[in-house]
Symmetry: C2
Subunit: 205 residues, 2 copies
Amino acid sequence: MNAEKIPDIIISRLPVYLRALQHMADNGLKTTSSQELGEHVGISAAQIRKDISQFGEFGKQGTGYSIEYLLDKLREILKVDRRWDVIIVGAGDIGHALARYQGFANRGFNVVMIFDKDKSKVGQKIGEFTIEDTANLIEKVKAADIKIAMLTIPAPAAQEIADKLVQAGVKAILNYAPINLNVPKNVKVQYIDPATHLQRMTYYL
Amino acid sequence: MNAEKIPDIIISRLPVYLRALQHMADNGLKTTSSQELGEHVGISAAQIRKDISQFGEFGKQGTGYSIEYLLDKLREILKVDRRWDVIIVGAGDIGHALARYQGFANRGFNVVMIFDKDKSKVGQKIGEFTIEDTANLIEKVKAADIKIAMLTIPAPAAQEIADKLVQAGVKAILNYAPINLNVPKNVKVQYIDPATHLQRMTYYL
């Protein structure tokens, strides 16, 4: 298997399979088929078989997939068979929501710090976290060897903070600011922007 | 132009172009090129030209695109040349954040109601909104002819609420619950799940 050769579009579907398989496991299921998984995720059985076969032989003709085995393999492929430390930059509404979100730990992530540049917020608590000053961002992120950040600040400040994150060694940014970020090719960005997502649906209305 | 024939993947990129063009317009720019737009959004100039040409001839060889004209056309294509009423179901952290979010109005959306099933929340205010009882969801959504909903409730309750939304006539759901929804083919769902987005990046780390 050559990681460089798997198309991004396939990688983007694997977390969706992983999530659906985890739900099946939570409901006590032991095996599944590409048909059944396809019904859960709204993707054709043929596509699922093709996607999964990129990484080896995981199912047997006629007996389907062992859910636990496929979960282990997907976690390994996506590198969430470990726990990644993640920081949040921006202690606004979304930053608060993410800091309190309980759904990260069992999916490979551990929020460890939250930053804001607003001096009136610095030092305040969000659950177990104390909001830290963005002025110390580079130093703290470097010291803790953080590779992943969630950016929940207004658009005008986002590029400047992204530059600092890159400088500090961050390689993956989940960007909630409604603006495209310019980052080096070895840094990944994913975008969450509800208005963009809504506009992808209005076309069909 | 036959709307049925444009691939989903192209439609999914149009809101990203729209957002970048709006930023350019906000910065006083009048024209752009597929190269320049491509640098903003991280998509090749060739892909952008191909995507936009699906809908007609918008640029002139050598002179590029008029930003205002392309904005108008993209808004028309995506049907955000009007204002869509949207409801929020779930008055938790994310529901609060969305209810207070200022970025919807200038992108075609207007939050009009927020619901929760928790009787201790019903009647409380979030900004200008009074939280309404999910028990009245179907009736209120039907009466106001709402077509779009954002679902910000825990996964176990999401399918049941999605069924009610469909019953009430909703045709587009932005789902923040970390679970795949089963809906009729004529109802669109977009998913926002930060853990899934993070897992799309850890593969590359």
